[in-house]
């Protein structure tokens, strides 16, 4: 089954690579409003996924009649606080999480540093989780998926 996810990741990674989503200049252009390519991509992506997700949820099953459940992400103050920290990082590096790996694959050497930073940052959050949980109303670890 893991090969299916490698294949999925490869196609997704190709699209990110060739669309500008994994390109420093396109990301800065988006934030400067001088290049609207990535707004178009996110907008169309959401517009295409929206009716499909609605339909799959209404059916309640995926391919071959296997049950599919969609769990909405928890709402808490971390959405905004963490989102803002991520936004600063996205601007600095010109990469969001998927494109970091895509850029590493493309051979962009500085992306390896961003990838190392991401793992350090995520680890840092993991070991300090209890500190943020109450403060930001984050879900209990056991309830997280």
């Amino acid at each position: 089954m893991w090969c299916a996810y490698v294949l999925f990741g490869t196609v997704f990674g190709w699209l990110l690579s060739r669309s500008g989503a994994a390109d420093y200049d396109f990301v800065q252009g988006m934030f400067l409003f001088t290049e609207l390519q990535l707004y178009g991509i996110i907008g169309v992506g959401v517009a295409v996924a929206l009716p499909g997700i609605w339909w799959i949820k209404r059916r309640g099953t995926g391919l071959g009649g296997v049950p599919v459940t969609v769990t909405p992400k928890a709402r808490h103050r971390g959405n905004v606080v963490g989102g803002a920290l991520f936004g600063v990082g996205w601007s600095l590096t010109g990469m969001c999480p998927g494109p970091i790996l895509v850029n590493v694959g493309e051979g962009k050497l500085y992306a390896i540093a961003a990838f190392a930073g991401v793992l350090v940052g995520a680890s840092l959050f993991g070991v300090t989780y209890e500190r943020w949980r109450k403060l930001l109303g984050l879900p209990d670890v056991a309830a997280k998926d």
Binding site: Y5, S17, S19, G52, H76, N79, G89, A113, G121, A122
Partner: protein, 168 residues
């Protein structure tokens, strides 16, 4: 044009539709909710033994999130190989033109940004894919709040750097 081999990028409508369709294929065929940044926790959990990384649901998702991360890198590599050949790249477009740091400076800059991305996405519970694409397409309040927040912070940061500090 892309930094990668000066390639012409796909039309935004084509790329957006592709990402939308991929999101639906993942849900309909593989029964997974699109999301990349949780995969970083899967990687961290292999080394860091904090209780946060020992939750059973995380280990249970190794089998699909880790191959997906590998696939993303493979997709990038394939794109380089077929787009003009794979070679190590230090080029960074606007950054080189207006900020202009050498390799060591870029590494430090990227590492710092990466820490914010890793920490921030985990605190937010998702990134551009899980909150921005899937969350918003599923009309989730958490997705909308996170997306507004990271887009806003990105707009402010880039404008401070390029319009205020270096003056594009």
């Amino acid at each position: 044009m892309l930094i990668l081999h000066d390639l012409e990028p796909y039309h935004w409508a084509v790329a957006g539709a592709g990402i939308g369709v991929l999101t639906l294929v993942l849900l309909f065929v593989l029964r997974r909710r699109l999301g990349i940044s949780t995969g970083f926790e899967n990687l961290c959990s292999l080394v860091v033994k904090a209780p946060y990384f020992r939750r059973p649901s995380l280990a249970a998702s190794h089998g699909w999130r880790l191959p997906l991360l590998g696939g993303l890198a493979l997709g990038g590599a394939l794109s380089a190989v077929l787009g003009g050949g794979w070679a190590p790249i230090w080029d960074l477009g606007m950054f080189d033109a207006f900020i202009g740091m050498g390799p060591a400076g870029k590494v430090a800059w990227m590492f710092a940004g990466g820490v914010l991305i890793g920490f921030g996405t985990r605190m937010a519970g998702g990134c551009t894919s899980g909150h921005g694409i899937f969350g918003m397409a599923n009309l989730e309040r958490s997705g909308l709040m996170a997306t507004l927040s990271f887009m806003g912070a990105g707009v402010i940061t880039t404008n401070v750097i390029y319009r205020l500090l270096v003056g594009v």
